[in-house]
């Protein structure tokens, strides 16, 4: 087993929403994309991914619909809602502030 970085829940939401901002994707594709784009630094566990997806859907940031996947099978596609897009902007700015703050503290001491 390669070491897995545990991702905080809030940032996981951010990652998911950012990933599907461009186009709707199904759960597996989202995990793969995150892994690829982060250069293998971030690996999302299924145990966290799907609960996060369902929670986001429950809260109304994303919607889910059945579609046909690349290999002609039924898959559940997630897309951002309008409110989700707005929330994404907020989350990104929150993350910027958080990471900037952490960086400052870590570099200081």
């Amino acid at each position: 087993m390669s070491d897995q970085t545990d991702v905080l829940q809030g940032t996981l939401d951010l990652l998911i929403m950012r990933t599907i901002a461009l186009e709707p994707m199904h759960g597996w594709a989202i995990a793969l994309r995150i892994q690829q784009v982060s250069n293998d630094l971030l690996r999302v566990q299924q145990g966290s991914l799907y609960p996060a997806l369902h929670r986001l859907e429950h809260q109304g940031w994303i919607t889910a619909a059945w579609g046909v996947s690349e290999n002609n099978r039924r898959a559940r596609y997630y897309a951002l809602t309008k409110a989700g897009r707005k929330q994404l902007v907020i989350e990104v700015s929150k993350w910027d502030r958080l990471s900037a703050g952490v960086n400052l503290v870590v570099q200081r001491t």
Binding site: H26, Q46, G47, R76
Partner: protein, 892 residues
Amino acid sequence: MRLWHILQSRLRSLFFRDRRESDLREELQFHLERETERLQASGLPRDAARLHARRVFGGVEPIKEACRDARGLSWLETLARDLRHSLRRLIRDWRFTTAAVLILGLGIGANTAMFSVINAVLFRHASLPEPARLVDIYQRSADPGGQDFNSYPAYLDVADYTDLFASTMATSIPHGATYQHEGTLRPALIENTTGRYLSVLGLRPSLGRWFSPDEETRGAPVVTVLGHRTWRSRFGADPAVIGRTVRIDGVPVLIVGIGPAGHNGTINIGIVTDFWLPIASLEAFGMADALERRPNESMFLVKARLRDGVTVAQAQAAMDILGRRLAAEYPNEDPGRGIRVVASKDIWIHPQFDGPIIATASTVLVIVGLVLAIACSNLATLLLVRGASRAKDISIRLAIGATRRQLVRQVLTESLLLSSVGGAAGCVLAWWGIRWLRTVELAMTIDLALDGRVLAFAIAVAVLTGIACGLAPALSATNVDLLPTLRGEGAAQAVAPRRLTPKNALIIFQVSMSVLLLGCASIFLQAADAERTKPLGYAVDGVAMLETDSRFTGYSAAHARTVYDELLRQTATIPGVESAALTRGLPGGITGQRLVVEGTAGDRESSVAAVMISAGPGYVETLRIPLLHGRAFDARDRANTPRVAVISETMARVYFGTANAVGRRFRLESEPGSWTEVIGVVRDVGTGLVDSHPHQFYLSFTQADAVPTTIVARTSRDAADLLAAMQRKLRDLDASLPVTTAKTMAQARADARTASQAIAASLVALGTLGLLLASVGLYAVIAFAVTRRSREIGIRLALGAPRQRVVWSVLRGVAGLVGIGTALGLALSVLATLALRAAYAPAPGVSLYRPTVDPVALLAIALIMGLVGVAAAFVPARRAVLTDPLVALRHD
């Protein structure tokens, strides 16, 4: 938008749970397959790939659960789940559920139905605009113990005070008349009022108009305003009725308007006034003297609306001055005791009647409330018993992780569900009850409707009880130490049976309330029985009467008399008839009068009260009224012979000082010149009021040159046959004469008792209901006690105790409770009887039955309660006796 989406998602998860589950499964399955394919693509064989993918994936179930948790359960889903659970539970414990629903339904239903009756008769107060400005004005009666009313001339004097009163009106007490509608004759209640009637009350006619000023003059053609309720029920709510003529007591009357909706009469006690006529029209009906007499037995009510800024005290001061002036101006006629002004909102019906009426109403309210109390306490007992037996179940749930909040919520849901079903059952029962009550025939129309407020109150009480009593055991059960309860040692911690636990207190309460209920029912039974066995003083068996109304046929008086005389002659020839007589009105009908005895001063202070009974030749003999002195009426007494009367024994003794008052004279107070001589003295008769009016005198219709209306006959054979024969003779003689009443005396008596019998029957039913409820409660408690002490019973039996002793030990505790409850209930019954006795102290003019404490009835009630207790204990006791000790020992 987001909100809509959330709502959609919640509803979907509520209704499509299975689809969600399969969706989730499919989704995770898809992920697994894609991962497997990816690993395959990177070189692993299929099986190894799948295994690896699975391992990395982790357990599917925990993920599913995490997803489900991430969704969270909305409160709607929780409620649905709790409801489903409660429903299943209640259906499983169907015996308990049925009992609880029945109890609630009966309690709420009976309570609401009975209270609606009370409400209709006593409490439905008209909501008039600005009621604070309305006052009632009475002339104090000459008799200090008499009732205050008013006279028309005095009203006219009061109406002059336009600086005090914005408007005044006088209205007569509703009196009976007959009207002809679509060929049949019907009884009606009539109020004669002045023109400003509606403006004083602040109402408007719903259709048409009220009387105009020229219709209020004497001699004008008579018009009427039809009551709204009568318009709806008898005239089909047809607007074309305005302009039609209806005959009232033979007089053609034009309908000019329909009264206000919801206004059923000036006196708001549930009886319905059918027609309003102008006060001046009394003359057309032969009652012109009512308009001229000052003494207040003319029975008018005067109401007025105060001008802005005028207080009741100011009005009273002015009326005091007026009263003194009238007393001085009319020393012989005016009662002379002043005028009283009372704010309308301070009285229910009449200042002097309110006392006994409120006492009666309170009694019935209490009785009805008792039933509800018993029902609620019964439900409480059942719920407590059930709750206690679920202690173990609750402990298990706590042990495996349920929170207290969840458990309490579940119990609450269950209680609410039970209460709702019970409440619905109660509504249905109440509706049925009212429907049944409506069919009870009474002489007057009573406006009976299901009162929403009462229903709501009863339901609220029942629901609260259900919640409180379902909750209490849940809360206490969730507080116990888990381990001992799980092990079944909870029973060992139970308190000794004699202590005053809530359960015991409830049983005592139920038993005592049941006994009290039965006690009250027995009081009313006493009253009904007294009425039934009251000696009438005249014959009932074999007597029949036929009443007609020649006013509607247009006959001249002479012609009508000829017809009646012929009818009398023919009736006398019917085989078996011993005696027949003509009279006016129905036998036993009375009219209040004031008399002046010859030899006393002729002023108003020496006038005395008596009741006049209309009679004719042969009347006394036909009704077998014992003639003590002198003679009764015969053919000698005619319009041109001196006026004579037959008086009752008590009247002779009290007013004339001697039993044999033959030859003495008296006169009506209203007829100063015309003396009446006493020709005979008879025994007192019962006159139809609860307590008979002892001062009675009879006048013959032949002397008033009036037309008879009724023929009474007595036969030695069957009265029903006689009645049929009389009707045949009448039809053969004159088919156009309408018959208003055809009854045997026995029927008439029975009809007069209908109302009180209905009340007594209802109360007995309620009492039985209360008993039933109490017995159900007793049964539940005893059954539970037996079950709880099974182990103890088993040990005792195993050690050789005789079965009877074991059973007795179980029953002993309960017997004590029943005994205490019965004693308490009996004591309360006695108190109630005494209180009613005091409240029904003789009121002026009306005597009500004063209940006495009946030890026999109380003993009977105690015995009944004892029997009920034994019956309720029988089944559980038997079960205890037949217990196999081994089974009992293993019971936990």
